[in-house]
Amino acid sequence: MLINVPETVVADALRGIAAAHPELTVDVENRVVLRRDAPVAGKVALVSGGGSGHEPLHAGFVGPGMLTAACPGEVFTSPVPDQMVRAAAAVDSGAGVLFIVKNYTGDVLNFEMAAELAEDEGVQVAKVLVDDDVAVADSLYTAGRRGTGATLFVEKIAGAAAEEGQPLERVEAIARRVNARSRSFGVALSAVTTPAKGSPTFDLPPGELELGIGIHGEPGRERRPMMTSGEIADFAVNAVLEDLKPGGPVLALVNGMGATPLLELYGFTAEVHRVLGERGVPVARTLVGNYVTSLDMAGCSVTLCEADEELLRLWDAPVRTAALRWGR
C-alpha cells in the first residue's frame, strides 16, 4: 500500500487535497473540507460526509455547483458529530444547511446527533437520506437499502439547485426526488483491503465474483463463477430495473470501485447501454469513472436515475470541483 502508517492515511490524504486544491479550505485537524468562499451569501449550503475510502466522494465534490463542505471519517467509518457541527457552522449563510447522508446506521446516527447540535447553535438543518442500492432488500430485517452511486446524483443536482439560489425546502425536495428516482447495483471482482487490517476483508478467490456488494468491503449477497462484462451488465441493469421503472430517459452512472481499469469500465458501459436499449430505456446522460469507490476493490456499479426536464437542467449546470467539473 502507498501509505506511511495506517493511523494517518486520512490526515495524509487531507494534506494532499490541501496541497493540490488551493480553492478549498482543508481543516486537517478537525477533518472538514470547505469551499474557500463559504459561507456563500444567500445560498443554501450542502454538507455531506462519510467514511473515507470512497474517494473522490465526498471531498472531491466540494466546490461551486456541488457540496459546500465534506466531513471525511476514518476509513469506512462515519464521521463524528463534531465534524458536521463545525462544517455546518462554517458554511451556513443564514439560508440553511442540507445534510446529505448515506443510509448506513453509523452515518445516520452521527448526522442525526450533529443536526440536533447544529440546530441548538441556530443553524437551520434539513436532512436527506440516500438509499439506492437494490442489492439490499428494503425490509424490516435489514438496516435498509445502502447509499451508493446515487449520492453523486443527489450532490450534483441538489448542489446546482442551491447554486441557483433556491431555498432550503426546494433544495431538500429536489434531493429527495433524485434519491427516490435512483437505484444502483454493484459487483466485486476482488475483495477490499483496508489499511488498518492489511489483508482482504473477505476471501474472494480469482475466478469468482460477488454480486450485490456494498462499498465498504462488506461481502455481497451471492457469489458466482466469473461472468463476462456483458453478463454482468445484464445482471446489474436488470436488478436495477426490477425496482426502478423509468417512464423516460435516465441518467446513468457507470462507476468503477477503484481498481478496475477505465478500459474495462468503458467496455462495460457499452454493455450497459446495450441492455438498456434492449429494455427500451433511453439514456439521457452517461458518466463513466471511479467516483464512489471502495479503496482497492475491483468491480463496478450501475446507478440509474429517472430524469425529468428540471433534473436534466440541474445535471447540466456548471460544476467546479476536484473530481467533477463542466460548464463555464
Binding site: 476514518e74 463534531d82 438496516a143 468491503g217 462488506e218
Partner: protein, 217 residues
C-alpha cells in the same frame, strides 16, 4: 423491549459495596486495556460480517477517553460516565460511537450528582443506558447486536458483577447462530449466521472490565 412480562428490576444481591468516581475511572481504564488487548480479534470478527474496523475504532475511542479522564476533573461516578460517553461520541465514529456514547452518557446522567453509588443504582443506570441504545439503534434482543450481551448482563448485575460478566459473555456467544437484522451485518442476510457479533463481543469486554474493577478492590 426485552422479554415481555419479565420483572426487569435487578434484585439487590451479594454485591453491596458502594462505588466512587475512582472506581468508575478504574473501570474505564480496564475497559480501555481490554479493548487494546482484544482489538485485533474485534476487527477480525468485524471483517467476517462488517467492515473490519470495530477494533481500531474502539481502540481510538477508549484511548481518547482515558486521556480525557487524566486531564479533566470528574468528581462523581456520573461525571466519569458522561465524560466517557462524550469522548466516545466525538472520537469513535460509525454506529459504535453514538451507541456506546449514548450508553455511557445516559447511564451517567441517571446516576446524577451522587458521590457514591450502589450496585443497584448502577444496574438501574445501565438499564436506562441500554434502553437508550435500543431506542437509538432501533434494535431488540435477538437482532445480533450489542444488546444481546448488554441486556442479560444488566439483568444479572444485581447478583454480582462477575455474574453479569458471565451473562454478557454467554450473550455474545449466543449471537453466533443469529441472523443480523440491524447494522452493516444485516446486508448479509443468512450469510451473517455462524459469526459472533463484534458489538456484542466488545460489550462483553466492557462488562468484564466492570467485574475486574470489582475484583481488584
Amino acid at each position: 423491549m426485552g422479554r415481555a412480562g419479565a420483572d426487569r428490576r435487578a434484585p439487590v444481591g451479594t454485591v453491596s459495596r458502594v462505588m466512587d468516581a475512582d472506581f468508575f475511572r478504574r473501570w474505564m481504564e480496564l475497559a480501555a486495556a481490554a479493548v487494546e488487548r482484544e482489538a485485533d480479534r474485534l476487527t477480525e470478527l468485524d471483517s467476517a460480517i462488517g467492515d473490519a474496523d470495530h477494533g481500531s475504532n474502539l481502540q481510538r475511542g477508549f484511548a481518547a477517553l482515558v486521556a480525557a479522564l487524566d486531564k479533566e476533573e470528574t468528581a462523581t461516578p456520573g461525571a466519569v460516565l458522561v465524560l466517557a460517553g462524550r469522548q466516545l461520541i466525538s472520537t469513535v465514529g460509525g454506529a459504535s460511537g453514538p451507541l456506546y456514547g449514548t450508553l455511557m452518557r445516559r447511564a451517567g446522567k441517571t446516576l446524577g450528582d451522587a458521590a457514591e453509588v450502589t450496585p443497584a443504582q448502577l444496574a438501574e443506570a445501565l438499564r436506562a443506558g441500554v434502553t437508550a441504545v435500543a431506542g437509538l439503534g432501533g434494535a431488540k434482543a435477538g437482532d445480533k447486536t450489542m444488546l444481546d450481551a448488554l441486556e442479560p448482563a444488566v439483568d444479572a448485575l444485581g447478583e454480582s458483577f462477575a455474574a453479569a460478566a458471565q451473562a454478557a459473555e454467554r450473550g455474545a456467544l449466543a449471537t453466533v447462530p443469529m441472523r443480523a437484522r440491524k447494522g452493516r451485518a444485516s446486508y448479509l442476510g443468512e450469510r451473517s449466521v455462524g459469526h459472533q457479533d463484534p458489538g456484542a463481543t466488545s460489550s462483553a469486554l466492557l462488562i468484564a472490565a466492570l467485574a475486574e474493577a470489582e475484583a481488584a478492590r
